[in-house]
Assembly symmetry: none
Homo-oligomer: 216 residues x 4
């Protein structure tokens, strides 16, 4: 861990060991004590760092959280050649990433922090926008393949999907199974109206229930 007791200044420039020790400590504190126990004071104690050292490099609690999150965040947007699988795969990997690393706790904390700190909110908004654009590319690829209507707002679709993920994170429902994720994605992709025509469950069972507008 970053508990290097003899860590000192390395001269008139940032000591990367300190930065690492602080990020390590921040993650550890968050995991062990939760967001409510996460304080600059606790991180400094854990990292054997002076508080000013933290404040020098991270202006706020959230900035620190953000860096910790960035260090962990590696969610790929798969390209299976099929939008449903892309989206389900994205949600699955995001959920499991949030569940199995500390990144879930961190991101929750970040969202919470944004509710009381406007600058954090701005940063989070910016970040979210970027992520939506990124996720939206899966939809754009589907458009290019002709899977999806050309006038569909890819960012809005990304927003719908990401929103679903966010709220499940925020309400401790990251244990959703693949069936539920696939069903949710299916609703966005194919709709739920009676003559939207495909029953996803039926489809999965290998049968089709044609419901409407079928003639002859």
């Amino acid at each position: 861990m970053g508990l290097d007791p003899g860590r000192r200044s390395i001269g008139a420039r940032r000591n990367p060991d300190s930065a690492d020790a602080i990020l390590d400590a921040a993650e550890a504190v968050l995991v062990e004590a939760g967001y409510s126990g996460f304080s600059i004071e606790a991180v400094a104690r854990r990292a054997r760092a002076g508080k000013p050292t933290i404040y020098r490099w991270w202006p706020s609690k959230a900035a620190l959280l953000f860096d910790v999150y960035q260090r962990l965040k590696r969610v790929d947007h798969p390209d299976t050649g099929n939008l449903e699988d892309d989206l389900v795969g994205f949600l699955k990997s995001l959920f499991s990433h949030w569940r199995e690393t500390s990144s879930g706790s961190i991101f929750r904390s970040l969202i919470a922090e944004a509710q009381s700190d406007a600058t954090v909110a701005a940063v989070l908004a910016e970040y979210t926008k970027g992520r939506h654009a990124h996720t939206g590319q899966m939809v754009e690829r589907a458009k290019a393949r002709g899977e999806v209507a050309a006038d569909v707002d890819a960012t809005l679709v990304a927003d719908l999907v990401a929103s679903f993920a966010w709220t499940h994170l925020l309400t401790n429902r990251l244990d959703a199974d693949e069936t539920t994720l696939r069903r949710a994605v299916g609703y966005v992709l194919k709709g739920i109206e009676a003559d939207g025509s495909v029953d996803p469950a039926a489809v999965r069972r290998g049968r089709r229930r044609v419901i409407g507008r079928v003639t002859g």
Copy 2:
């Protein structure tokens, strides 16, 4: 406001004036100082109430927030006889309610609070579940009318729609115009696939089977 300086005990039972003054003060503090400035101490000061009086009736900051929210929350689930209009109307009224009253700030704060306090998280989860069930009834009505496939998971649809609302609240995007809301609802209702008619299984097998609007 509730700044009744002469408020006293009314005997060995709860004084509703005090309760009101505290809820009023809580709302005012939240509006004026934001979630970061929202403290029991500040509420007590504003309400001219003793802290123990607050703690006697609300075990936590969140419990107080919750009551303040409940006092304001009046979002109806319209019954227009048409699911799209129902859902768009629901989102519109929810967004404007959050935008135009303090309930938006309060609910954001509540979600934030839930991230650091497990009991709040539990209460919020319970509440959310109830709201989803309620919203899901719009879908159930549509099912009954035959608008929506019988095996659609109404709660999941409600989840999708509510998630969209939550994230817009949490990221300061309550200014979404009706067009955007209608489009988002439309995606869930009708799907986004090119002609609403792709058999995903087929796609998964690399082929496309046109299933709808098939003539002859």
Copy 3:
């Protein structure tokens, strides 16, 4: 003890059971929790009485302490026919009374209380004056027997002896053995005994009154 759970009002007059229960509880609280844990609140809880009931009959914490003390205080001023034995006996019985009942704690508390409450101080002063007069009677009896010079200030002697007792109480030194008490009394006595020989007043007037054992 006074923990009668079903005690009720007995109508439009003071309920002696309540008074007793309160005094019992006050004593018990003082013994169990010490002066720092002694509060009207705690006494009310212990006595299963309402705080107003206590305040109705005892205007202050000290008034209650005083009554509790009075209930216990039974220190006799022995008359052995010899002043030294009288005073030593008095101190012995006072020390053991303070040591072996709760009255020591109570009186200490009373003195402490008097330091922050002027009305208590006044009551205590009055009480002390009365006790000194009482104790002084032992000296007066000795005067009558000719043991002590006629112009000795009996109250001042009582003051000296009582002061010794007070400070030993206040500094947890009630374990003084009889030898010490007798020695202390002895120091005071030999100066006032009829043949202790010098009349201080006379000395101050520049004259000497030889009192005893002078020959030639």
Copy 4:
């Protein structure tokens, strides 16, 4: 007063300005509001100091009182070459010191505090012991001069004299005139002189007039 608004940390060590401001404030609060109005909160307000700064250096209310008292306490034990004058002088200077500075209030408070806090009691006991030893030296000097019998317990004499002072402090009787003090001291002294028969006035003149047990 100590109302230095810009007082700040001077690095990772105690700021003597803060300490002074706090001691000043403590004394002022005690003088102005009395012991009942003396709270750490009030001292912090008065000193413009944070409560934790006070608690960092003084573990309890009493520790603070003690330091304030120590700052003021300058009672000399005079050496007039005559024990009576030494003791009367000591009492006179102690009484006037207690009367004319705030040290009287402070010491009273300290004694009161000791009645509810065992650690304070211990400190006070230690302090008292030290003072008695100190005062006892006046008696020891008198022994060396042959004024006092060799087997007299100097500490016990000091105890008797100090007890008299304490109780007068605790019962608002610091207005005792010199005659009373001299009489009280006289009572104790005449009993401890070498043969119970010295004329103090004569001693003061440097001569000893044997008055008792004189033969032929």
